[in-house]
Each structure stands twice: as C-alpha cells, then as structure tokens.
C-alpha cells in the first residue's frame, strides 16, 4: 500500500518497520512530528524529554539495554546533545541508534541556520541524507543496520523541505523486534581516560571500515547521462538538480560522511565540468577539493539560505551552463529581473503575532511600560519583541535569558532594578533551571519571570514536565514550580495572572527592586487550549478618542477604523459625528474577551462584553 507521507511521518514509519521500540526527543521545528507520529504505532515507547541532551541519553541507555532507538531534534538541539554524542561515538552502541537532525536552511522557524552535516564529521559518525519521504523511511532502517554492524551511532540529517514535504511511500510490514542481550563491558562503555584512549583507536579503525562501506553502499550511486556536466549532490538538492539539469550526470550522495573518495574520483574523471550543489556549508565541495579535484560550488551558488529549482537554474545559467524549467530552456534574460511589468503596490509583511487573548501579552505590556531591560528566551513569547510591543532586548538560545540577566547585573550595578529575564515554562524545564540555580548561588539580585502557559505552545502544544501528562497520554506528576524554586534557594516567589495588569505592575515593581533573586510566575493557560475568557469586548464609539493606547497591545482583534467603516462591536446609533474620526474596533469573531484592552483604555471606550447590555 502506498501512502502520501511527510518526511517526518516517513521517518516514524521507517523506525516502526525497522523494529525501533524506544524513541525520545524534544520538540523543535522541523522535527516535531516524528515523535508525534511514532508514538501512535503499537508496541512502542516514545517520550518527550525535557531537552535534547536528556533525549539522547535516554536513547543511549535504551541502546545499551539492547533496543533499537530513534532520537530526534531540530538542528540547534544537536548543540544541546553534543556532549553525550561525541563520547557515544567512542562507546558505540548495543541496539542500533539513529539520531535525526532536522536542519532549517532559510530559518523558517529557527534562530539560526547551521549545517549539521559538520557534526557527523566532527563527532566521527556516519551521515545519511534522504532526498524524499521514501528515502527517509528506507534510510532509518539502513541507519540502524549500519549502527549495529559498525557499532556506531548514525546521524540522519533532513532539512525543512524533506521533513515537511509529502511524497509517496510504499509501506512495508514491520520486521520482528529483537532485543539484543546486554553484557557488562566497562572497557567499552565506561569512558575514563584509561578506557577511552583505546576506544579512540577503535573509533579510528571503524572510520576506515566505514570509508570502505561508503564506496559501495546502497545510497551512493552514479547516474550517468551526458558527460559534459557532472553534479555531486545530496538531500533535497538532488531533486532540484534533476528538475533543472535533467541531462547532467549525477553522483548522488546519500552518505556523505565518511566521504566516498574513490567514487568521487571515478565520477570526476568521467565528466567534463564538475559541480557541487548543496545548501549551506561547502561540506561536499571541500572534501572534493581535498582530493585535488577542480570543482565549482560556492563559486556559483551562494551558501546562505534555502535553494529552490529556479535559484539553481539561474546560478547555472549565469555560469554558462544551460538549464531548463518546466521543460523549457532558461534564458539569461528570463531568469533575471521582471523587466517591463507594472510596478507592484508594496505588500506589507504578515509576521506571526501573539494570538488574541494570549496571556503573554499582559506581562510584556507591563515590562514595556516599566522600560525594563528584558533578556528573553525562545517560544511564542519571543513575538513580544516585535512591534508594537517591542518588549524584549535579547534572544539567543533556549535558556539563555536567565544567565544573561545575571551577567548584565554583574557587569553593572546600575542594571539592578532595571533588568528582568523572561522564559517560557517548557524552556525553563529545558535549560532554565540551572540558570536560576546559578543566579541564587552566586548572589544575584535578578528577577526571573516564567511565562507559564501550561504547554509548549510554539511547536504545537506538546506536554512537558509541568503539564501532568506525557506524549503517550499517560498522567504524570506535574512539577510544582514554586516548590522547585524554593528548593533551589529562591526566597521570593510570586504567582500572578498576566491578564491582571495592575497586579502584574505592582509585583514587577516590587521584585525588580528587591535585593535578592526573585521569581515571578505569570500563570495562565495558552488561549488556544482554553475556552474564551468571556464574551468579546466592545467599543463605545462616542467615548473613543482614537488615542491608540489599545493598539499598542498588538492584539490582532483590535484596529482603528474610520467611524463610518466601523461597525463590528460598535453599538449602533451612538456616533452621528463627522466622518474623519478614527475609533477602535474589536473584531467580534476573534476577540476572546481577555479584557486587556479594557484595562488599558483611559477613556472608558472599551467595555467588557459582560457589560454590553441591550446590544445582543
């Protein structure tokens, strides 16, 4: 049976078919759906770990105990998991272990773009790269076979256009699950210097064997066509090459580390001009150059952002190599600018925004009012750093907010009373706890706010250790943040409702002024998981002065409109004045009645839905 599967669904399927019984991950676009799909298969165990390092460590234990294991994360997650990964390369595995790294060229949903193929080389482990969903499914099984045969973890690297593109996969029956017996072997698994040194040599020997394997392995192959132009490529770029250079010979690398040197030599000597097409770093290109082979890569295709077929075609045409699009040859002119077309009206951007009723909005509105330096973190709440709220000063990586606030205060006493770290609940469990511990331990006087919306909202509402449920839908103990903070040594812990602006302001003033570390928990569930707080707000148009105070909340349910255009939410028959006046309008369909705009309005124009008498 064939099914249209995303790369992520295909990876989950591949793991199921290959007898994986344990999977662990921390969510992160574009990897998240792998575990969500895998957890639905019968007879498997899957969990969200609090972060990627723990996920990989869980995977290591499961592999030691003999199971086949899948661990998944987004590209930056591998930074977090790098510590166990590099030593896992020394110990090797018992049950096969595949680590999926989902990279995000072009930063659709990430704070950076990094090419994690480098990690495979750095950690000295094999690297597989699928070019569509079928290959993604197949390569999970292959990765596990390689992992067990060569006693090594294997990295399977996807990119957004593999992870989130759907193509057909012919489903297979799952193979029987075999648990390999566990044998204590300290010289293999206990990495102290005396045991690690010999393992370093084992690692080197294994790489030599893998170098042999990669030459003849099933995923590196040459497609001979015309010999003038030869392209070495892999991953989604293979598809772009097939699309726009259908006549070119191609060396497709499904496994680019260890590098199949002889195969590359053979290919290079069989073609006239040699090119590499790859996204981000010149990973393949540099290894070709090291063989002393002349090749063009970055010279014609830039290494920033995502490619697509048209970009690849344009770069080749510019380099004098004919390319086709939709069956027609691309000319230099057609590939270039849009000459002769009427000038288009400027299209304003449509950036993502905090939802109507989002509890994060109330907290950040106050932080902005108090003109605090806000070291931020990653999650939906990072959107509060954009206009019009603009209430965040920095965002680096998950967990960075707390260390950064502490460091700022240590650098300058003047920062005390003016600095606050803001971190989401899932992010706090991921890597904020140690930052808070550090602040208390080192006598910091900082203020940390956990925006506790009771979920991992940004990546699609995954449960976490604070929510009381697990990925498999089982009940779990929910962390008591107040008690946890006290155990870390925080004496000042306060809980506020972020939609109560007056109370939030009061608490924030007190806590930033306090000389010791304090924790504020701004607690209210994500609006997408709860029923609306109340009926939608409405506007008394005669009272609205068009002062824009409410607009500064950045709520998508609020706008200013000319009076005659303003109908929704305005009780009829109250204006009758000149047409040029602008008044606030509440969109009755999307407003959740959170009441923030009502609190912010100084003119009594915005009214709670409950008070909307006689307009039903």
């Amino acid at each position: 049976m064939k099914e249209l599967l995303s790369g992520n669904a295909a990876i989950a399927r591949g793991a199921f078919e290959a007898g994986v019984t344990v999977a662990a991950a921390y969510p992160g676009t574009p990897s998240t759906e792998i575990l969500e799909h895998f957890a639905r298969y019968p007879g498997v165990y899957a969990e969200w770990a609090p972060n990627e390092k723990v996920a990989l460590e869980v995977g290591i234990g499961a592999s030691l105990a003999g199971a086949r294991v899948l661990v998944a994360m987004k590209h930056v997650g591998v930074n977090v998991a790098a510590d166990p990964l590099f030593t896992l390369a020394y110990t090797g595995v018992n049950g096969g272990l595949v680590l999926v790294s989902a990279d995000d060229p072009g930063m659709h949903s990430s704070q950076n773009e990094q090419d994690n193929r480098n990690y495979a080389r750095f950690a000295k482990i094999p690297l597989l790269e699928p070019a569509d969903s079928r290959e993604a499914r197949d390569m999970v099984g292959l990765a596990l076979d390689i992992s067990e045969r060569f006693d090594t973890p294997v990295m399977l690297r996807t990119t957004t256009r593999i992870a989130h593109a759907q193509s057909f996969v012919e489903l297979k029956e799952p193979q029987p699950v075999v648990l390999r017996p566990y044998q204590k072997d300290a010289r293999k698994y206990l990495m102290v210097p005396g045991y690690a040194r010999p393992r370093r040599a084992v690692l080197a020997g294994r790489l030599l064997e893998l170098e042999q394997y990669t030459e003849s392995g099933p995923v590196n192959f040459i497609e001979w066509r015309e010999r003038q132009v030869g392209i070495i490529t892999g991953g989604v770029c293979y598809q772009y090459v097939r699309e726009v250079l259908p006549q070119a010979s191609v060396l497709k690398l499904g496994m680019s580390h260890p590098f199949p040197r002889n195969l590359v030599r053979e290919f290079a000597s069989g073609v006239g001009n040699l090119y590499v097409v790859e996204e981000l770093d010149p990973f393949i290109e540099e290894q070709v150059r090291m063989l002393g082979i002349h090749v063009k890569g970055r010279e014609i295709i830039p290494g920033i952002g995502e490619l697509d077929p048209v970009l690849v075609a344009r770069h080749f045409v510019a380099a004098g190599v004919p390319a086709v699009l939709a069956g027609e040859e691309v000319t230099e002119a057609a590939a270039g600018a849009t000459a002769g077309l009427p000038e288009a009206p400027a299209a304003p951007a449509r950036p993502p925004v905090l939802c109507p009723g989002c509890p994060h909005r109330g907290l950040f509105y106050v932080l902005r009012r108090l003109k605090l330096m806000v070291t931020g973190d990653i999650g939906c709440y990072t959107l509060a750093g954009l206009p019009p709220l603009e209430a965040m000063d920095s965002c680096i990586c998950m967990g960075a907010s707390i260390g950064a606030a502490h460091g700022a205060e240590k650098a300058s006493l003047e920062r005390h009373g003016h600095t606050v770290a803001v971190i989401g609940d899932s992010t706090f469990f991921h890597s904020g706890i140690t930052g808070l511990l550090n602040m208390v331990y080192n006598g910091g006087g900082g203020t940390v706010v956990i925006v506790d919306n009771r979920t991992t909202a940004m990546t699609g509402h995954q449960p976490h250790p604070g929510t009381g449920t697990t990925l498999m839908g089982c009940p779990a103990p929910a962390v008591d943040l107040e008690m946890l903070a006290r155990a870390l040594g925080v004496k000042r812990v306060k809980v506020v409702d972020p939609l109560d602006l007056r109370r939030v302001e009061e608490v924030m003033r007190e806590e930033v002024a306090a000389p010791e570390t304090s924790l504020v928990i701004a607690r209210r569930s994500c609006v997408l998981l709860t029923r609306p707080a109340g009926p939608p707000a409405w506007v008394r148009a005669d009272a609205c002065k068009g002062c824009r105070s409410c607009i500064r909340l950045g709520c998508p349910a609020l706008s200013l409109r000319d009076v005659e255009a303003a109908s929704g939410g305005t009780p009829p028959g109250k204006d009758g004045k000149s047409a040029s006046k602008k008044v606030a309008v509440v969109d009755q369909l999307t407003c959740t009645g959170c009441g923030l705009c009502v609190q912010v309005c100084k003119n009594g124009a915005l009214q709670r839905g409950e008070d909307n008498v006689g307009t039903g």
């Binding site: 574009p30 949903s109 593109a165 939709a326 069956g327 993502p352 925004v353 206009p387 950045g554």
Partner: protein, 191 residues
C-alpha cells in the same frame, strides 16, 4: 502530461488552506499522478502567511516551486495573492479570493492595506479570476466553506476528473458538513 502542474496556495492561518491542499492531494492521487506537497509549519502558524505548494505530474522531483513557475496560484486573501504574484509564470492563472485580512502592521496603523491589488494582478496576469468566496459560501449555507468554493474554482482548471474531486472531498470533510461543502464546491466549479 509531461511536465508537472505547479499549484501554489496562499492564505492566512485559519483560512483552511490545509484542508484544501489535502482534498487536492487526495484527488490527484486517485487520478494516478505522482505528487509532492510542501508546507512550512511552526512560526508561520501564529497569524502569519501560510503557503502550500502542490506539484502533480507523471514524475515530480522538486517539492518546491520557484519564482515564475506556478501554473496556478490560489490566493485565499488578496494581499497574499499579491505577495506570491512573482511566482506566477507568464500566462499563468490567478484565482483570488476578494477578501482582505489586515496584517499586524496595518492593524497597528504603521502602513495602509495596499489599494489596487486586483487591478495590478490583472495587469500582470490577464487570466485572473476574482472570487467572492465568503459570499458564495454563505449563500450555500456556511461562510466557513469559503475554502471549498475556492477549491472548486481551482478544480475545473486541473487535469483531474470531477468525480475524483467529489470522492476526495467526501473523504476529507465530516459527513454532516458534506452537503454544504458539495454546494460550495459546485459554486466554485462553475466560475
């Protein structure tokens, strides 16, 4: 059909582009085509622009469509249609919903919602079909079926038989809403 047909769907989170692309994929699968469907998840969902790329043909390589290579753009919102116009190939078809959803910078009063979008699109793409999807869907009994009206308008312009669309639609929408959706589809199909 030698070369794949490239379809771009553009809208705003919550407009039902995902359902529309599922129905399209289902119908194309039944018609025996190779398929690639590509979308971006994550940040894009919080009220941002949503784009789905669908390619169908005998053999489809790239999951992505580049500039000036979309055969048909199905725009669920005017501004999103304008934004994707550079992806339409010369002589391609633009099907555009006559609906405005102001983005955050417009709501905040930083910029105006651009005027003259349809006129500009028509000037660039003579084969432009403007659809009052909300109005037509409401007339069928549910304004929420606007996405299916648009899908109907797309369906007639793709090499997939109507009965396959009907089967796929029935497989994707809940039974109690099927009648409304069939009417909405028919309203679009006639355009």
């Amino acid at each position: 059909m030698l070369e794949p047909v490239n379809v771009l769907m553009a809208g705003v989170g919550g407009q039902g582009t995902i359902l529309a692309s599922k129905v399209l994929a289902g119908a194309a699968e039944k018609a025996g085509y190779d398929l690639k469907v590509s979308e971006v998840h994550g940040m894009a969902q919080r009220g941002g622009s949503v784009v789905t790329q669908v390619r169908l043909g005998e053999k489809v390589h790239s999951p992505l469509i580049g500039e000036k290579t979309a055969d048909i753009i199905l725009a669920f919102e005017k501004l999103e249609g304008l934004r994707l116009l550079p992806f339409l190939k010369p002589g391609g078809t633009m099907i555009i919903n006559d609906q405005e959803i102001p983005p955050a910078p417009v709501l905040a009063g930083a910029v105006e919602y651009p005027a003259g979008i349809i006129a500009h699109i028509r000037a660039v793409a003579p084969d432009t079909v403007v659809v009052d999807a909300l109005g037509l869907a409401a007339a069928c009994g549910n304004a929420r079926a606007a996405n299916v009206v648009l899908l109907g308008a797309l369906a007639r312009r793709l090499p997939v038989g109507e009965e396959l669309w009907q089967e796929s639609l029935a497989a994707q929408v809940p039974a109690r809403l099927l009648e409304v959706n069939r009417a909405a589809f028919a309203a679009g199909y006639g355009l």
